[in-house]
Symmetry: C2
Subunit: 257 residues, 2 copies
DNA sequence: GAACGCAATAGTGTCGACACTTTATTGACG
DNA sequence: CGTCAATAAAGTGTCGACACTATTGCGTTC
């Protein structure tokens, strides 16, 4: 009996805070969302080989949309593709994550600087308004909410930079580090997150690029230093989480299923 | 009678200076290279709708690898995908390009700074050696060579930053602005390009991050200012280039072969 | 004569099947 | 008993076909 994954459920559970010019018809898009969700939740484990047939059975579609989704996830860095061997879940290494955080810091600082140079008062008003609208009880939200709101905040800065490429880049990076950020948020309820956001807004109002960039660097650096610890939790989560779709290591062999 | 595009030829003509974790078996990879080449050379024109069947006939493969290639090109920004309408060639707009140049400047400056902070002498040695090996008769190379060597230079800086994500990002950006850069290179044989590379190397040797970043910013800025003019040439090229694969606007209607 | 709706055509999205490659299993040999 | 080769199984890469959607062209109506 094949376990079947409910694509609808996985869809609605998505964080959904990115802009993407691509929007496939149906199966493909859903497969993408579902598999990505499985990756984010570690239902599919790092370094595991992804079986296209098994995935297609689980999701109730043919291999074509599965492959389409996997290709997309590959170009976003979630999985890798080896010529005749198939797709593998990206491995869970600290270095790779630190590199990503560094890239994120670079993009965000540049975005902040450009925002300070270019944004009119109304733009900055949008930022202050956004932050004002989410600051109350910010830390009391469920982790997914906090994450979505935090990403929204930083994406708005990118947007106000006037360079849509920065938005795209940041959105792509966010998608790749979201899994570990969520774990961090679950672990630590650090109120400094709130205050640093407030300070960033203040710096934006004053158009103080240097100050804002320093705040962002520290803001992100703080996350990096917490990443080591979060990784331990992540690894724990990996090996205790249920295993609905991928056999990964312990494969069972039932002939006449 | 269907015109058939030689995939081998298009392959060998490629600049080929990127690292990419993805490497599909055969047809897919070739289709990717071929179509990308068509896009770079404006054989496929901006805003044109891409006909999968026609492409598959031209390249002599089925639609599956074509779609795979197009999906990949979509996630790299070469084409866009609209749900039930198919793929479209990215439009040729100035703004988008300037945004990309800006992003490139951001990535490269950050890479240079990190290189200055982290690279050991041997690393810097690689940079000086690389530049020394290509500086002689640099401007006398054919445009594609100049482009490849220039990209190699900047990618090496990214590599020496120690952050592989920066290499990936820069490679992706290069791929997207390559078409216009090639036109610029064909137009202008500016010797300042050479001297600014030399100066950048000198700054690297002195680990002078600020100086190097300023040089890079100017270096890239110079390209941006030339982009407007280059675009005119590009548009000219678009409407004079032969049209082997895509019907684009004037489609002929032959019923019985 | 122009706008609307309908039919025909073209084109994408998805499927199941097959060929070829990689991986696991079995059996022979040292 | 371990190593290696032959064989079987599993899995990916590609194909051609079909269903459904979008577009074009035509005829009708006002």
């Amino acid at each position: 009996m094949t376990e079947r994954i409910d694509m609808e459920a996985a869809d609605t559970a998505m964080v959904e805070s990115e802009q993407d010019s691509r929007r496939s018809a149906d199966s493909s898009e859903r497969a993408y969302n579902t598999i990505r969700q499985l990756l984010v939740e570690f239902k599919l484990k790092p370094d595991a080989r992804l079986n296209e047939v098994q995935l297609s059975r689980s999701l109730g579609v043919s291999r074509t949309p599965i492959r389409e989704a996997l290709n997309r996830l590959a170009s976003e860095g979630f999985v890798s593709l080896t010529p005749n061997r198939g797709f593998f879940v990206r491995s869970l290494s600290t270095e790779g994550l630190i590199d990503l955080y560094e890239l994120r810091s670079i993009i965000e600082c540049a975005a902040f600087r450009l925002m300070c140079e270019r944004a009119v008062d109304a733009d900055i008003g949008r930022l202050t308004a956004y932050w004002a609208s989410i600051v109350d009880g910010y830390q009391d939200n469920p982790p997914d909410e906090i994450l979505a709101k935090d990403e929204g905040f930083h994406l708005l800065i990118a947007e106000l930079s006037g360079n849509p490429e920065l938005v795209n880049q940041l959105a792509a990076i966010n998608a790749r580090i979201r899994f570990i950020r969520r774990i961090q948020i679950e672990r630590t309820h650090d109120p400094r997150q709130v205050s640093s956001h407030s300070e960033i807004v203040a710096a934006a109002v004053r158009r103080d690029a240097e100050r804002g960039m320093k705040l962002l660097r520290d803001h992100i650096e703080m996350s990096v230093s917490a990443t080591q610890d979060a990784l331990k939790d992540a690894l724990l989560k990996v090996y205790t989480a249920p295993d609905p779709a991928a056999p990964a290591r312990g494969r069972r062999r039932v002939k006449g299923g």
